[in-house]
């Protein structure tokens, strides 16, 4: 449903994303992996329409993404990034209702259907009794649930997640990922996530993509792609990769520190 045709993006003279192509199918989850500065976030921002590629094109079904009206795009693609809630004293419900923006024309107010969608998602994200709480009073995990609720009320077909689990504790991480998985399975939502945790990516994603210096150097299912030699090549760190006892997905164990001479330091 989304086709990325050899897109590139330059900042000044530096090429941040260099000729990446990718096909997204409905209802699959894709992890974009790679070290800092490899172009993951830039790629994601081109898919979200925040940045336009210098070369190449992105097609959403039959339409060129850059030609799409912002509201039409927002009905198809939603974004969840870190801390996009701000600190203005909105209530949880007000914040989530903002996600209905692409469905409302200027002179319309929220319809019964809009309110139904918001109610349902409040329930699914376990925020029903927090509707009138101000977002400034929420915990980090709750804030992230509000952020995903706001993205989901857009009823998107594609959800882009930019390091969604960073700064969250384990419980909050899994509850967030659970919500995403549920939507992927039930509604056929397509997930594209930039994530640093390779073990989570391996368990969660149907397909992973490794970027290095703006180029895609490996692509496929986690089982096909994630290996100790690839991790060594991309991150310069030697690891042990073993299959997960239940699913067989590759999981990474780090070498004890004494046996792991650093090859190259990467911030």
């Amino acid at each position: 449903m989304l086709t990325i045709q050899s897109v590139s993006k330059h900042y000044d003279t530096r090429c941040v994303v260099d000729g990446i192509s990718l096909q997204l199918k409905r209802g699959e989850s894709i992890g974009i992996l790679g070290p800092n500065g490899s172009g993951k976030t830039t790629l994601l921002r081109m898919i979200s329409g925040e940045l336009t590629p210098d070369q190449g094109e992105i097609w959403l079904e039959e339409q060129n993404l850059s030609k799409l009206k912002p509201k039409a795009r927002a009905r198809k693609i939603a974004v969840l990034a870190q801390e996009l809630l701000g600190d203005a004293p909105f209530t949880v419900r007000e914040m989530i209702e903002m996600g209905r923006y692409p469905y409302l024309s200027r002179f319309e107010t929220l319809s019964d259907r809009d309110i139904d969608v918001v109610d349902q998602i409040l329930q699914q994200t376990n925020l029903s009794d927090r509707g009138h709480t101000r977002i400034t009073e929420l915990s980090g995990g709750e804030r992230q649930r509000v952020a995903i609720a706001r993205a989901l009320v857009q009823e998107p077909e594609i959800l882009l997640l930019d390091e969604p689990t960073t700064y969250l504790d384990l419980e909050a991480q899994w509850s967030l990922l659970d919500i995403c998985k549920h939507w992927q399975k039930e509604k056929g939502l397509t997930l594209v996530m930039v994530i640093h945790d390779l073990n989570v990516a391996s368990l969660f994603c149907d397909r992973v993509l490794f970027l290095q210096n703006g180029k895609c150097i490996a692509e496929g299912t986690p089982k096909e792609v994630i290996s100790a030699s690839l991790i060594e090549e991309v991150y310069g760190v030697s690891t042990v990769v073993i299959p997960h006892p239940e699913t067989g997905s590759p999981q990474i164990l780090h070498q004890p520190f004494m046996n792991n001479p650093r090859k190259e330091h990467d911030s």
Partner: protein, 341 residues
């Protein structure tokens, strides 16, 4: 849940409206000539619905040609300043943004003074020329602040940009005044902000402008809410960020320019009122816009009342009163937020 929500707004909104009404009646009643309240209603009735057809000519003259225009002007100016503050703070996502602090007021004043001194401000259309010239000044100031502060619109760069622009236009104003000594005191008095010697004509210039800006603000409340959250979020849910921002900034500068050319530079209203309202009812512009307008109008009528009665028969510039009332509140916000700025 919904009902509770509405009830809360009924109380707050109703309470504020009563305050507004009370202040209005107080402001038209109190003055050097004491006029009883029934007489006030008789005069209003006489001029609006033609009943009663006979009123006391003395009260009529004082009320209709002096006090009403003045109180109404204070009301509309207060509402405009508060609305301007709401727009600047919403669009720039910045708690300290306000036309006065960003230098837009001094930009407008410069434009207005140039029009007055060059003589194009005289004549029947003078008022409009002054306003137009003020708008050009306001526009230049807004755009300069915007360019200086950069795309990120961080608080400190924005405020510093405002300081620079304010200082520059302040210097131009001082220069212009020093070049025309005979007009100096008159213009200086106007600059400090005052509602004395204003007529119905001034109100008729301002009212269409504020009505238009109010309507546009009301119908962009969702965009304003999203800007207040984050410009990126706004873009993600489909707002045309640049276009909307530009439109709203132009409107806010226009409003500021008209207000300044009528009543001079009155500080603190645009920043203090929206903040107080935000603390009480939250950041939703659906409520922030109407409540700020109501509170701004009330606050300004009260300030003007104090300005003309405190040291009777002398009159203080109303800007002095708003600064005395507003500076402590502003200092409190600054103190509270200094860590986040």
């Amino acid at each position: 849940m919904r009902r509770q929500y509405n009830k809360k707004h009924l109380y707050i909104g109703g309470g504020m409206f009563l305050c507004f009404l009370f202040t209005f009646i107080l402001a038209v009643t109190v003055g050097s000539l004491k006029i009883p309240i029934p007489e006030i209603w008789r005069v209003i009735g006489h001029h609006t619905i033609g009943f009663p057809n006979q009123v006391d000519p003395m009260s009529d003259a004082v009320l209709w040609s002096l006090r009403f225009p003045r109180v109404l002007l204070a009301m509309v100016v207060g509402a405009s300043l508060a609305l301007g503050g709401v727009l600047y703070q919403g669009v720039l996502r910045n708690p300290l943004a306000d036309p006065y602090i960003l230098g837009v007021s001094s930009g407008s004043a410069t434009g207005a003074i140039i029009a007055i001194l060059s003589g194009i401000g005289a004549g029947i259309w003078g008022m409009w020329f002054i306003s137009l010239s003020a708008f050009i000044g306001a526009f230049i100031a807004t755009v300069s602040v915007f360019i200086l502060a950069g795309r990120e619109l961080r608080t400190n760069t924005l405020i510093l940009a405002g300081v620079v622009i304010h200082a520059l236009f302040g210097a131009i104003i001082t220069f212009l005044l020093s070049m025309s000594v005979e007009q100096m005191s008159r213009i200086q008095y106007w600059l400090m902000g005052s509602f004395s010697l204003r007529e119905w004509a001034h109100i008729w210039v301002l009212i269409p402008v504020i009505v238009v800006v109010m309507a546009v603000a009301w119908f962009t409340q969702r965009e304003l809410n999203l800007f207040a959250v984050n410009a990126r979020t706004a873009a993600h849910v489909g707002v045309s960020v640049k276009k909307t921002r530009f439109l709203l900034l132009i409107l806010a500068s226009f409003l500021t320019a008209i207000v300044v050319s009528i009543s001079g530079m009155i500080g603190f209203v645009g920043i203090v009122i929206p903040h107080l309202i935000r603390m009480i009812i939250g950041a939703n512009h659906r409520f922030l816009i109407p409540y700020s307008i109501l509170a701004g109008a009330t606050f300004m009528m009260l300030s003007d009342l104090l300005a003309r009665t405190l040291l009777e028969p002398r009159e203080l510039p109303v800007g002095v009163i708003t600064a005395f009332l507003g500076a402590p509140i502003f200092s409190y916000f600054l103190y509270k937020w200094r860590r986040n700025l």
